[in-house]
């Protein structure tokens, strides 16, 4: 039975290895950016339909950036219109999107590395992606359960609670998944 600290150490070694190799590092970077963009799109902060090139900043960004508009959602303090693509910049949501993106990226990068190690087994790149799904769903949990409206689902207390806990649950799953694939990756390297 391997201890938690050993598992974490093995995971760190796997992450280090994944970062050092150019191909697995590229997987991490691409997955991080892609996931962060997907998350920001899911919460409506990245969108199409902008009509111009423009930058607008709210009057008091320091007072505004920490104002909550829902579970894990905060007020945007700037809007960037770049042709047809628009971006509402909320520092906290952008940071959260990047954090989730990094976790997904590391999962996929380490899983990719383990897959490239011929003696590693029982692991696939899909495991990291599956762990990311709850976090992605939680990203759509806007202040007025818009996701449920879009899907035509009637809200219940249990469902609303599930949406509220989806993001922290997603982070936990991503961390657990990372330790799991990290151990496999380390085992593959040791073998």
């Amino acid at each position: 039975m391997i201890s938690l600290s050993e598992s974490v150490s093995q995971t760190r070694r796997s992450i280090d290895a994944a970062i050092r190799r150019w191909d697995s590092a590229a997987v991490i970077a691409a997955a991080t950016v892609l996931y962060a963009l997907t998350y920001l799109t899911a919460i409506g902060h990245v969108f199409t339909g902008a009509r111009s090139f423009d930058l607008v900043v709210v009057a008091d960004p320091l007072a505004r950036f920490a104002q909550s508009t829902g579970t894990f959602l905060w007020e945007p303090i700037a809007r960037v219109d770049a042709g047809i693509v628009g971006y509402l910049f909320s520092p906290l949501n952008t940071g959260l999107g990047l954090l989730l993106g990094v976790l997904v990226g590391l999962n996929l990068g380490v899983a990719y590395l383990a897959w490239r190690q011929p003696k590693a087994c029982g692991i696939s790149a899909g495991s990291g992606f599956l762990a990311a799904i709850p976090a992605l769903i939680s990203g759509s949990a806007c202040c007025a359960p818009v996701l449920l409206v879009v899907l035509g689902i009637q809200a219940s207390g249990l469902l609303l609670l599930a949406i509220d806990v989806a993001l922290p649950l997603g982070v936990l799953l991503l961390l657990g998944s990372l330790v799991y694939v990290g151990r496999m990756g380390a085992a593959g390297q040791a073998a």
């Binding site: 409506g44 969108f47 339909g49 902008a50 009509r51 607008v56 709210v58 009057a59 909550s68 508009t69 829902g70 007020e75 945007p76 303090i77 700037a78 809007r79 628009g86 509402l88 806007c142 202040c143 007025a144 359960p145 818009v146 449920l148 409206v149 879009v150 035509g152 689902i153 009637q154 809200a155 609303l160």
Partner: protein, 366 residues
């Protein structure tokens, strides 16, 4: 019809709406309207008159609007859709000229023409804010919109402002006043929790139409700007679309349970509802557009073809009007649809489930 919560037994809404009923939940009526016409724009404005009888800063109507539920039943039916003020009201609205408006011609706007003031509030902005604390022709007004019930109503707000509580009853917006934090149901126009419990607001009807039609009718109108103090994707309605109609606005489902389920019509079918002196009546909007003039008890609903909107009047004498080629033909002359020689009443578009949920005893004309 299946009831979702118990309700106090009431007589038909028409009886409860008799003027001079005693106060308290379930009583109603007595609210009168005053119509003024502006000489330059020809615009008519209507106010439910009353006195500032409540404690605090909110001007309330002389008597309570019709209710078919006790306040306890309404409080028990509350759902939480968002945190308080998570949907931020617009407290410092900025208006621009039609040339500067970033609104498509087919986009929905809620118009108000009162005295010297003509304003349009785009649905694509209100869907993100639900309340605009404005001043119209010198009167402080809260312009309110609930996307989940498709209802837009104006209310006098006195010296206070209104915010979005994040609560819903029958999927309908529950506002709160910032003077006392009382909870006000938008469709009922009545507070059901807090210091103002039992008081009704004085309403101002808004005109639900499209930007192109409103601008053509009122070329000098102002329009609410996207400079709201907040940053949103105002081109996008997170619930669906009105052009073409889709998403939530056509689905069978609602976000939360409704107060009643009544399968006589599609839940999202639009009715024009009014509740006041002449009772509680819902008229199918398509019927009004089709016939031009629809008598409904003490009310008269008139279709305004240029605005594709409904103007509703109190017609207790049953004066006969009919739709003519050049306007609404009365006993003596022809009138513009928005300028009949009758008192205009507070009436508004509402989705069927929302109206029948609050007023199960409503008279229905379809």
């Amino acid at each position: 019809m299946e009831r979702q919560v118990t309700r106090r037994a009431v007589l038909a809404a028409g009886l409860t709406a008799l003027a001079g009923c005693t106060g308290g939940a379930g009583s109603s009526g007595g609210t009168t309207t005053q119509t003024t016409t502006d000489s330059t724009t020809g615009a008519t404005s209507t106010t439910e008159s009353g006195t500032t009888t409540g404690t605090g800063d909110v001007p309330v109507a002389e008597s309570q609007l019709p209710l078919e539920y006790t306040f306890n039943e309404l409080r028990d039916a509350v759902h939480t859709g968002a945190r308080k003020d998570a949907i931020p009201a617009i407290d410092e609205p900025v208006f621009v000229s039609p040339d500067e408006a970033e609104v498509d011609d087919e986009a929905i706007v809620f118009g108000i023409a009162a005295g010297e003031t003509v304003k349009a509030y785009p649905q694509q902005i209100l869907v993100w804010h639900e309340v605009v604390n404005d001043v119209v022709d010198g009167t402080p007004l809260a312009v309110t919109y609930c996307p989940l019930t498709g209802t837009a109503l104006g209310f006098e707000r006195g010296t206070t402002t209104f915010g979005v509580s994040g609560k819903l009853v029958n999927n309908n917006l529950v506002m709160y006043d910032r003077a006392t934090d009382s909870w006000w149901s938008q469709i009922l126009g009545t507070a059901f929790r807090g210091q103002y419990e039992g008081d009704s607001l004085r309403g101002h009807p808004l005109v639900w139409t499209t930007w192109g039609k409103w601008r053509d009718r009122f070329p000098d109108t102002e329009v609410l700007s996207q400079e709201t103090g907040f940053l949103r994707n105002y081109g996008n309605d997170p619930y669906g679309s009105y052009n073409p109609k889709g998403g939530y606005y056509t689905q069978d489902s609602t976000l939360f349970d409704t107060l009643v389920k009544d399968g006589r019509h599609h839940p999202k079918e639009v009715f024009v509802g009014t509740r006041g002196q002449g009772g509680v009546v819902a008229i199918q909007e398509a019927e009004i557009a089709d016939r031009g003039v629809v008598p409904a008890g003490e009310y008269l609903a008139v279709h305004h073809p240029d605005l594709d909107a409904t103007y509703t009047y109190h017609n207790p004498e049953g004066v006969e009007f009919s739709a003519g080629d050049t306007g609404i033909v009365g006993p003596e002359e022809t009138h513009r649809p928005d300028d009949l020689p009758l008192d205009r009443v507070m009436a508004f578009d509402a989705m069927w489930f929302a109206w029948v949920g609050f007023y199960p005893s409503t008279e229905v004309i379809a």
